[in-house]
């Protein structure tokens, strides 16, 4: 279990939206195919992806994913922020690719 605040601090991530950083995450899933994430991401996950459109919030919501990390320095599409806030999903950004980002997450003990 790792607190979202710790994740942000130690993995060099920037915050795009959300503020409930005291929540904890216990799993990680990496994927860009929504159905793949839908079928395989475990509850309470951090999800690393390059998909930036609004529908990722629906996926996060249904799979009970708490945090999305958009990798490769990409930007979230318009409207994603509002949707995320409504659904209590934290949106983060990483300038690195998902492999480099997840390496740091592993170092935190997840």
């Amino acid at each position: 279990m790792v607190k979202i605040a710790e994740l942000i601090k130690k993995c060099g991530l920037s915050v795009y939206s959300g503020d409930n950083f005291d929540e904890e995450v216990k799993n990680v899933y990496i994927g860009d195919l929504l159905s793949d994430v839908m079928g395989n991401a475990k509850e309470g996950s951090v999800w690393l992806t390059v998909q930036s459109h609004i529908n990722i919030i629906a996926v996060a919501n249904i799979t009970s994913t708490k945090v999305i990390i958009l990798c490769n320095g990409l930007n979230y599409e318009k409207g994603t922020k509002e949707k995320a806030e409504l659904n209590n999903v934290v949106l983060l950004k990483s300038n690195q690719n998902s492999f480099e980002t997840v390496k740091k997450i592993i170092e935190l003990g997840l």
Partner: protein, 295 residues
């Protein structure tokens, strides 16, 4: 059928056949000649008789069954089952028109195929035909129970709009919230929501029409029905295959259309029926059973 069949030649002994059956855990061995043509079969019953009558070291050609009942590679399931019923054998060699051995089919193979079909009831031929012949009923009756549906009485209803791909999944998200407010079984609700999401996304990206999502639930199960009057599915069997997708490149770039949607639906539902006809639409019905007891 099994293609990697073990076989023996006429020059082998019954004792060798017994050893082969023991090691391979099989109950019958076909005997072939140099051209791989079937000339006989020996079964575990033959071995028992040989042991009793003390000729286990005799050659196979003296004791094998020579008039073997076979099936052809192109025979369908129905024909093969009829043969199993007619002749009380546990296995049939599969030979082509030149009598060359191609494989072996056992009762177990039949059973496995049937069980495979049973795990998920979709595209059930008879039911599908019945339903397609009466289109009105198809849209008004439950595909799973056959009962007439009163959609106005549904516990949850959502109108799926296909014009905005960004809205795909909204119905499933609302359904999740609704069900979680009504029952304390997050795991079951999660399963139902994931499968519903996939069905909803399919309406948005494939149907070219609006759709409806209905849900009924009680303390034993959740039933979800998603329907549209759109394009329909050309080949349901093919659509059920993992990785098969007709999605456009644009939709794929957004991360949809990977051909996993129906697979997820199948995986997370306990029962699922898909009925479709080109130009008439698609109806998907799924049941999720509460296996834990208390809701």
């Amino acid at each position: 059928m099994k293609k990697d069949v073990v076989f023996l030649n006429r020059g082998h002994t019954l004792w060798q056949a017994k050893e082969l059956m023991r090691i391979k855990k099989i109950s019958g061995v076909p005997i072939i000649d140099k051209k791989r043509c079937l000339i006989g079969i020996v079964s575990i019953e033959d071995i028992i008789v040989a042991l009793e009558k003390n000729y286990i070291s005799d050659l196979l050609e003296n004791h094998m069954t020579k008039s073997v009942i076979t099936v052809a590679p192109e025979d369908n399931m129905e024909k093969i089952i009829q043969k199993f019923n007619r002749f009380d054998f546990g296995r049939f060699p599969v030979v082509d028109k030149n009598n060359v051995l191609k494989g072996l089919i056992t009762k177990n193979d039949i059973l496995e195929t049937i069980l495979g079909q049973f795990t998920i009831i979709y595209d059930h031929d008879v039911r599908r035909e019945e339903i397609l012949n009466k289109e009105m009923e198809w849209f008004n009756k439950s595909l799973i129970t056959g009962n007439t549906l009163d959609k106005k009485e549904a516990d949850f209803e959502f109108h799926i709009q296909y014009t905005d791909v960004n809205l795909a999944g909204m119905g499933a998200a609302r359904l999740k919230k609704f069900l979680n407010s009504k029952m304390n079984n997050p795991e079951l609700v999660r399963k139902a929501s994931i499968a519903t999401y996939e069905a909803e996304v399919n309406v948005v990206i494939h149907s070219g029409s609006n759709g409806y999502l209905y849900c009924w639930f009680n303390d034993k199960e959740i039933n979800v029905r998603i329907e549209d009057h759109g394009k329909g599915i050309e080949n349901v069997d093919k659509a059920m295959q993992e990785g098969f997708s007709t999605a456009s490149d644009h939709v794929r770039e957004l991360g949809f259309g990977a051909g996993i949607g129906l697979v997820n639906m199948k995986r997370y539902s306990d029962k699922m029926v898909v009925v479709s006809e080109v130009g008439k639409g698609v109806v998907v019905e799924m049941s999720f059973y509460n296996k834990t007891g208390g809701v």
